[in-house]
């Protein structure tokens, strides 16, 4: 049988989705060819902005060439289709290709609308749609001080956020009287504006730009029709999108009055064998500017191409959105501009916390018509599900938007109540039934669920709800959500830590005998080692604890890729005398160690062989250094700025505070590493708000920030308490750290711990500040015990000849590892490339 030939014009998010649907369903009877107008295959446009904050083009890619090739999908990059001949059933491309089709799919998306203002085509005027646009914006920003975004809709705000992050003074110019005019009402828009202005972005509403001319103080001047003007160096147009329908128009395919390729419920255009999907398509006079509806169209069209009789028709899509824009939570559901007759509405407004919620219900109080949420979007999933599934409203619908003061769940619908057909993840069209199905085929956690259904891997807006459904369904099946540490212990880390503390268990051996099975492994051993150390703080290289120590703890250094170690002495708060600095230099020179200043304000010496570690540390300990615990899941550094001692702005002695904190908590073993920082004033030179514990001086004392994180998933720390005196500051930190140590999961940083803590930061305040559980004194005592047992592990090790003995590569020879080899780079040694390491012991069997 001849294969059906399908051409797909446009390889954006939706075009790619269609191809994926086709090959998943049947790739034996079809022959697919894709044309991409861009120099690459489909990428995640929804997360485009992350390209400016560190993601690379390949991180955003939705598909790679291999995948297409494997499934015999042909493609042509940078090759726009320029003409369709519906009679001959062929298309022509820019590069001169002529291809014929049985079915043609238009997935040409949309293009940014640039208002016809004179001067809109200058060098530093941009749009915000493709990776290339972002490259251009980045280049301009390097030569600009200020930037303007024209358009205060969803995308405009996102663009403004991006420009601000690029370090520019940022303005938004909007011709409507409010921001996000489509999704918000006037009050919601006003609150959003106040919040955004508080972030330092200037908003100009009701401004119509008439021309862009040369500026006097900055590069350009924008003149407005009310006679006013604004100067800027760079402009980004984000004044809406227009369906890319040129190609269709030229081929006499029906398009709407205001643009968009008309489609029926199967996504067919006026020509039955030509389909249109995604942002270029017009369904019942509507364009859908979101990816989820596009994905639904892709599904319908793919089904219709392969088996027309069995196609479920496209019936429109929900345009509800929930976003964080410039750090502000905003959500909108349904119809919010009072177009529906006879509605009733409820409003909740809190000027202190800056929250606005507006709920519109039908006249019989049975249905939700629309919702606007600004500043607090917690109610979003709940309200959306009620509306989408036509679920009954509570007698007094206002409880749906009132804050949950008494902490009861009367307003929550409870995921049990959701019908099976409820769509949980709209990006990937995953229903509650699909989640149940996934559980039956073995899925027990979010990672499994993501892998098997894709739920929560798109915009991410559904993740909380998806997890709730998953957990409740698992619970219903009697599957206990398994948080067992590993196959050797049927307990969570928190449960083990309680057992160890309450039963006074002092060794792994005893714990395994009473509560475990098998022989342990590299997961449970270090975890138990860490718990034992947190509570009893014995010397970690004591004979019975040795087997528990992970790679780095085992030899009190971080193992590098060639098996050598790094040496990181503690330099509290980064303060170091010239004498000690010289010692470090001498040690590095004498033992030929690669030297580097770390990101944690101290010095790391790399490439030490096992045999040399004791001699190196002897010199350091003799000079007064202590171990820096760079190898431990324990306190790393307390970064500090110079503070009031030197800095003309400093209001407290940040150095003294940081040094005290570092000395207080050094050696404390915890579920994951801990990082602190102290800044001497609000300029925050020590970056305390990205640390587990951040302290910032005020003229009255210290502000305490907690649970920040840098690293893989940065998290801004939360303000926990203000204007504390030093004693209170330390009391809170003592309690907080001990509570974290007792309750966190293995390798869970404080940021993730807080995010998973029921009740969140308010609960934590109850426990730490108000001492509601009456744990305060006990936690402080536990901390005091741990602190009293502190020892420098290197000092202890050096004092014992037997312990020193362990630091040899061979037990039966004083030779070194001859597999370790170095080359020289930039005047220092560096590990030789891996291919050069000697493989002395090649196995005989293959």
């Amino acid at each position: 049988m001849k294969k059906q030939r399908i051409l797909v014009v446009g390889n954006g998010m939706v075009g790619n989705k269609l191809i994926d649907n086709l090959i998943q369903a049947d790739h034996h009877h079809i022959d697919i060819m894709a044309f991409s107008g861009e120099p690459r295959l489909a990428y995640d446009r929804v997360h485009l902005t992350s390209y400016l904050t560190g993601n690379h083009a390949q991180d955003l890619a939705l598909v790679d060439a291999d995948y297409y090739q494997q499934h015999q999908v042909h493609f042509s990059l940078n090759d726009k289709v320029t003409q369709i001949d519906p009679l001959a059933q062929t298309v022509t491309t820019e590069s001169g290709r002529l291809e014929s089709y049985d079915k043609l799919v238009l997935a040409t998306g949309s293009y940014p609308f640039v208002p016809p203002i004179s001067g809109n085509d200058q060098e530093h005027c941009h749009v915000y749609r493709t990776l290339e646009d972002l490259d251009a914006i980045k280049r301009s920003s390097q030569r600009s001080r200020a930037g303007v975004v024209i358009g205060g809709g969803l995308l405009g705000l996102e663009a403004a956020n991006a420009i601000q992050n690029l370090g520019l003074e940022t303005h938004i110019v909007e011709f409507a009287p409010r921001l996000m005019a489509v999704q918000l009402d006037q009050e919601g828009g006003d609150l959003l504006r106040r919040k955004i202005e508080a972030m330092g972005v200037t908003v100009h509403t009701q401004k119509v730009t008439t021309e862009i001319v040369a500026g006097e103080t900055l590069r350009y001047r924008m003149n407005f029709n009310d006679g006013s003007h604004l100067e800027t160096d760079m402009i980004v147009f984000s004044a809406g999108i227009r369906p890319q329908d040129k190609l269709a128009r030229a081929a006499d395919i029906a398009v709407g009055e205001r643009g968009g390729i008309e489609i029926n419920q199967y996504c067919q255009t006026s020509h039955a064998n030509i389909y249109a999907i995604g942002e270029c398509a017009l369904w019942q006079q509507q364009i859908f500017g979101l990816v989820a509806p596009g994905y639904q169209m892709a599904k319908v069209a793919a089904q219709h191409i392969l088996s027309p009789e069995q196609t479920t028709p496209f019936t429109g899509a929900d345009m509800s959105t929930k976003l964080k824009l410039l750090g502000v939570d905003v959500a909108s559901i349904g119809e919010v501009h009072g177009k529906t007759e006879g509605t009733l509405s409820y409003t909740y407004k809190d000027d202190i916390e800056q929250v606005y919620k507006h709920l519109i219900v039908s006249s019989d109080k049975k249905k939700i018509v629309g919702v606007v949420l600004v500043g607090d979007t917690q109610a979003y999933s709940n309200l959306l599900q009620i509306r989408q599934n036509g679920m009954p409203l509570p007698n007094n619908p206002s409880v749906l938007i009132l804050p949950n003061l008494v902490n009861d769940d009367s307003a929550a619908i409870g995921v049990e109540a959701l019908p099976d057909k409820a769509i949980i993840c709209s990006c990937f069209d995953v229903s509650k039934a699909a989640i149940k199905q996934a559980i039956i085929s073995g899925c027990v956690n979010m990672a499994d669920l993501k892998a098997s259904t894709n739920a929560s891997t798109g915009c991410g807006g559904c993740s909380a709800l998806a997890k709730q459904v998953l957990d409740s369904e698992l619970a219903k099946l009697g599957v206990e959500v398994n948080n067992h540490l590993c196959e050797h212990f049927a307990y969570s880390r928190q449960e083990l830590s309680d057992l160890i503390r309450v039963q006074q268990i002092k060794t792994f051996e005893a714990l395994l005998a009473r509560y475990g099975n098998g022989h342990g492994c590299e997961v449970c051993k270090p975890t138990v080692g860490s718990i034992l150390a947190s509570f009893w703080n014995d010397y970690i290289l004591q004979q019975e604890h040795l087997e528990l120590q992970d790679t780095n703890d085992l030899y009190l250094g971080n193992m590098q890729k060639d098996g050598t170690y790094s040496v990181v002495p503690r330099i509290p708060a980064g303060e170091i005398t010239p004498e000690r600095l010289i010692v470090l230099g001498e040690v590095a020179r004498d033992f030929n160690l690669y030297s580097k200043i770390t990101g944690g304000q101290r010095i790391d010496l790399f490439g030490a062989q096992l045999n040399d570690l004791p001699a190196i540390w002897q010199r350091l300990v003799d000079a007064g250094f202590e171990t820096g615990h760079a190898y431990g899941k324990s306190l790393r550094t307390v970064k500090s700025c110079v503070g009031s001692a030197w800095c003309r702005y400093g209001v407290q002695d940040s150095m003294e505070c940081a040094i005290d904190l570092e000395n207080r908590y050094k050696g404390l073993r915890s579920p994951h590493k801990l990082k602190f920082a102290v800044s001497g004033c609000t300029r925050e030179c020590a970056e305390a708000q990205s640390k587990d514990i951040g302290v910032i001086a005020t003229d009255k004392g210290w502000n305490l920030f907690i649970c920040g994180n840098g690293g893989m998933r940065p998290r801004h720390a939360d303000l926990f308490a203000t204007d504390l005196d030093t004693t209170t500051l330390i009391r809170y930190i003592d309690r907080l750290l001990m509570f974290y140590i007792r309750t966190a999961d293995r390798l869970q940083r404080t940021s993730v711990w807080l995010e998973n803590l029921d009740g969140g930061i308010d609960y934590l305040k109850d426990i730490i500040i108000d001492d509601k559980l009456g744990l305060g004194a006990e936690l402080e005592q536990a901390m005091a015990d741990s602190i009293s047992k502190y020892q420098c592990e290197w000092k202890t090790t050096l004092e014992s000849p037997e312990k020193r003995q362990r630091f040899q590569h061979f037990i039966n020879s004083s030779e070194r590892d001859d597999g370790v080899q170095f080359i020289e780079i930039r005047h220092q040694k560096s590990p030789a490339p891996k291919g050069n390491t000697l493989e002395i012991d090649k196995p005989v069997t293959a």
């Binding site: 492994c521 449970c524 098996g563 590569h809 020879s813 370790v820 005989v844």
Partner: protein, 108 residues
């Protein structure tokens, strides 16, 4: 050749940990599993991390197989067969080892 080379005393190996022995030109990782009072010997070279480090790994059990987790990237190697659990096409050598009146000996 059929001789046993003495490496060290059994008490030189901390319970449930490993040491590295030089056996001719070879590096052999020897583990003392106290819980079953048994010794195991495998090549010290981690073919995945490409460094001589296996003696410094944590030992334990996966199901009923005893294994060591490489300290570099944590792949497991079966202490009895030398097979990598994550990628069974990767094997490392295993050696005969015994306890003889308190001495640890390798067969070479």
């Amino acid at each position: 050749m059929n001789n046993w080379l003495t490496i060290c005393n059994i008490i030189d190996i901390a319970p449930n940990t490993g040491v590295c022995a030089k056996v001719g030109e070879k590096q052999v990782a020897i583990f003392f599993h106290k819980r079953t009072d048994a010794l195991y010997a495998i090549s010290n070279y981690d073919p995945i991390g490409k460094a001589n480090v296996l003696s410094r790994g944590i030992i334990g059990s996966i199901g009923d197989r005893l294994c060591v987790a490489s300290p570099l990237y944590k792949q497991h190697f079966d202490l009895q067969t030398g097979t990598c659990l994550e990628d069974p096409s990767v094997h490392i050598n295993v050696y005969k080892v015994r306890q003889n009146s308190g001495l640890v000996q390798i067969h070479q």
